[in-house]
Symmetry: C2
Subunit: 267 residues, 2 copies
């Protein structure tokens, strides 16, 4: 089954998930779509986020993908259940994986979640965590400037540190022992966030567990690629500039070779 896997994010944050998928499923062909023209989704309405997610999935379906990863917490929080109703192929998000991973890590069962305004307001992480363990105590905080900081090239600069210190101070005071990075852009700010929260709080990146979920769902559906040809990676974006490539290179060590602009509003 050499049909590609589709991976979708509002911008370049999903590359942090792509990296883990490539790591665990090196044999798969992948098409990544970053909606770089309309990023950030985090403060948009539910209606718009659902519409944009449907357009992304329609685009990936037109490329004949066999499964889709919504590598965007905001789109997962607001649109995943609607997508599962509407489409027939396997589709997974990042929130269930992130919640599970967090419960594996926490010792004191007091955890923090950071994400966009839309993700935090949806309370999806909270619900998912409490479904898995009703004794868990969850503190949440939206960090709306983190995505613009990353998308505008301020990752791990002084500005990011300053803003992170302000966003995270209450979570630290609440004695959390783990912190879910509930937005795929946030691992790009990992260095800064670590500097702010210190060594006693573990950062939880849902990417690795999401890649595991993908492997499981492909296996169950008999969709793993068994061909031995070299895997191909294609990148679709709705707006082209050099940020995409430079961030991919600088923070993820991903070398982008095949990049193409698409008119997403046509899907």
């Amino acid at each position: 089954m050499d049909r590609p896997i589709g991976v979708f994010d509002s911008g370049l944050g999903g590359l942090t998930v792509l990296k883990e998928i490539i790591n665990i499923l090196p044999n798969e062909n992948i098409i990544y779509f970053g909606d770089t023209k309309r990023v950030p989704y985090g403060s948009m309405s539910e209606e718009i986020i659902i519409k944009y997610t449907f357009q992304a999935i329609n685009l990936l379906l037109s490329k004949n993908v066999k499964a889709i990863v919504i590598a965007c917490n905001t789109a997962t929080a607001l649109a995943l259940s609607k997508c599962l109703d509407k489409y027939d192929l396997p589709i997974i998000g990042v929130i269930e994986a992130g919640a599970r991973e967090c419960l594996n890590i926490t010792k004191n069962k007091v955890v923090g979640v950071i994400g966009t305004e839309a993700t935090i307001n949806s309370k999806k992480y909270n619900k998912e965590l409490r479904k898995l363990d009703e004794n868990i105590i969850v503190f949440e905080k939206s960090c709306p400037l983190f995505v613009p900081l990353v998308e505008n090239g301020f990752s791990n600069k002084e500005e990011s540190y300053l803003v992170a210190k302000n966003y995270l101070k209450d979570l630290i005071n609440n004695n959390i022992d783990s912190l879910i990075l509930g937005c795929t852009h946030y691992p790009i700010l990992e260095e800064t966030i670590k500097k702010v929260v210190g060594d006693n709080i573990n950062l939880v990146n849902p990417a690795k567990e999401t890649a595991n979920d993908l492997k499981n769902i492909l296996t169950e559906n008999n969709l793993l690629n068994t061909s031995k040809t070299k895997s191909s990676y294609k990148y679709l974006v709705s707006h082209i500039d050099d940020k995409f490539e430079s961030i991919a290179n600088k923070f993820l060590g991903i070398k982008i070779e095949d990049i193409e602009k698409v008119d997403i509003q046509n899907y």
Copy 2:
């Protein structure tokens, strides 16, 4: 002479200048171009800023403008002199006006300038101020996150205050009595900047003096519009979203009616 005036900015910051022009020249027709697709210019190279400015001027010329205001400090700093060499019509920028206005206001002759990295690195404000008064003492500071803050809807929110406090602390300690807002986006952050610098430092917005310069140059060249028909305002942008309209409304009280998307790379 009812041909329109062209006003150009990298994004929506130039609307702060447009407002003053409408105020002082209510009889003029105006075409505004905001390069909203490629904003922010502030950290780009000189070569790119010159190229983008030429494209903006070519676009405005294709609309038959009689004069052009480069309502963008970065483009003024890096490209105005090149534009004056290349084009025949009257073109003015915002830096000379801002320097003049600052010298009218300062009492202790110790002044601050804030702007994008490209503007501050060009030292154009410093040179212009010292050309007008060699005894002036100038402290400069680039504030690279201010434009992304405005363009992403964080104007006068807590994040802006936090970042402004950090950017401006050294200038305040240097006992400046006036501060040039050397980027047309910064007046949109005026409330925040005032809160940080206090009542003893006057904020200098080059927009009003720029509008005066425009009036003078139109008068000298016999280009003022003497027709009595209602003035028209047209807005061209390289990328359409709702930010442009909402910021124009919210901070400037400008009601945008005639907005059109253009493919700026074709000019």
